[in-house]
Amino acid sequence: MRFLSEFRDPSLANAWVRRIEAHLSGLQAPLPIMEFCGGHTHAIFRYGLHQILPSAIEWVHGPGCPVCVLPRAAIDLACTLAQDPAVILASFGDAVRVPGSSGSLLSAKAQGGDVRIVYSPLDALEIARRHPEREVVFLAIGFETTQPATALTILQAEREGIANFSVLCRHVITEAAIRAVLADPDVRLAGVIAPGHVATVLGANAFAFIPKEYRIPTVVSGFEPLDLLQALCLLLGQLAAGRCALDNQYRRSVRPQGNLAAQKAIAQVFEPIGSAEWRGLGRLPASGVRIKERYGRFDAERRFGVTAQTVEEEPLPCSQVLCGKLKPKACPYFGTRCHPEQPLGALMVSSEGACAAWYRYQGE
């Protein structure tokens, strides 16, 4: 398939692996490299990249899976809303399996809640158009990658005067999570692979703080196997040359300043909040957004004033896995009490989480 199989070409991949090996000869192993984004984690496991690379490369799987870090309280709130017979709760497919205190949206659906899976917030808006007698609530999750679509949908709803559409906003901010991980004194990384989709929206420059403030070489990467191999090669090139800078491997999608129209939509509709809850990481400062007062009628929390009872999570070693201090398989819960069918911890929730990817593709 054009523009796809080219990026998975085995002979080109081999050539990149050889270049990586050549760079490694002058470097001290092991080299812990963090890929922040769950999309990268998934690609590494799905294509078996870690197996064709020299063992000196040690992947540390970061917290960049938006489904995984969705806190229990958000699911509890969504489930409470879904139980209201007036409400149609629309969600991305991978969020419906995320466990809350007493079940997921999938179990809320089984109990009679009207939960619909959508591929875009615009699909949720279309449901609202077709069901003017019902209240349609879209569970909005994700980093800056999905924020523009939610923002534009709210603006569209306002333009059309659609009165029965609202958003349960649980969008989060990438930089806050990266800072939380890098601030941990136990985390020692040789390099960071920065998320290509977030960078498409915010611009590659949004990740310049990593080499500048934390002194870690950083490369923005795409999601195909060859993207990741080239990004790794660029990282090792920096290390070999003694450089510490930001490189952009994903130039076919990422511009230095990003997508200005998307940034404008985000700024128009959302505003930062003091702190937000992350599954596995706890409460992080300046890590979430909410819908601005001006668009308050599209904010499901303001509109319904709902609350839900959330049971505290038991303490789990997820944050140690997130920081690379613990391998998924070394966690005492891995594959025993915590598995993809019944995830206890954040990283087992979605296939982009490190533990779920490990379980799924490497086995118990």
Partner: protein, 337 residues
Amino acid sequence: MTEANITLAHGSGGMAMHRLIRELFLEVFADAELSRLEDQARLPGMAGRLALTTDAFVVDPIFFPGGDIGRLAVCGTVNDLAVGGSNPLYLSCAFVLEEGLPLADLYRIVRSMKQAADEAGVRIVAGDTKVVPKGAADKVFITTCGVGEIPNGLELESTRIRPGDKILLSGPIGDHGAAVLAARGELGMDCPVASDCRPLNHLVAHLLTACPHGVRALRDPTRGGVAAVINEWAWACGGCLRVFEMHVPVREEVRGLCELLGIDPWHLACEGQFLAVVAPEVAESALAALRAHPDGREAALVGEVSALPARTAVLHTVLGGERLLDLPEGEPLPRIC
């Protein structure tokens, strides 16, 4: 039949039901045994062993590119018989109809069943019809039963798979799953792919004639796709089944849909393909036989069996890495068949 839609009267046992049976089912299926209208079909005994299978069909939508619920019901049942090495002979079908179903739709489905049955060379010899109030079912559900004859001496079983065996695939995977998914119209995109829904008994018979010895097991990868069959076989035989991604045929359209939706073609249902495990010494002749048949032109050798790691399904990726060939989580595509 003058009405436009199914009503509760069509399931009442009265005049309307008798008209529906005579003017629609008997007319279209045109089978002497069915037309006797006794409470049971009476069939001759057979020399080989009897194979019996049953299946329920609830696919949504009921019409999709490449097929419909009727064709699917016949092919699905025929194929379940065929992959056991049996020669499919007779089918029964029970319809649960939702009040309000357009009669034209029912005609279309029943005609399609007849056509598929003729393609497979099976007879529809028994049937039943129930009508439920609107909302108690979704348009139409079909339950079938199939009977076939297994020739004496033929043993196809997953427990007979052993290290060294080769894995063959009759053609490209995922067409049915992709076609149904696209036909639901929820994706807002056109995907020019048709379901592969077709009877496999002729292709299976052709393979078994060409290679009377050395075919260990056959299975059609429906729900759960190729991944489910490979895993089930690995558990059953206790060995490792390794599939080479590079050799598995997947149509461009299906691959594109999978990429967009973030799903794996390994998990998509097929309704007109089968996987075969064969002894290494017959692998080449079996593949040649499949490719020589018009239904098996795109057949490929896709994998092999080893002893270790035990009970494991492995995918050898295009890049040369290896990973588990995972089972789909939860229910990615409800009502696919």
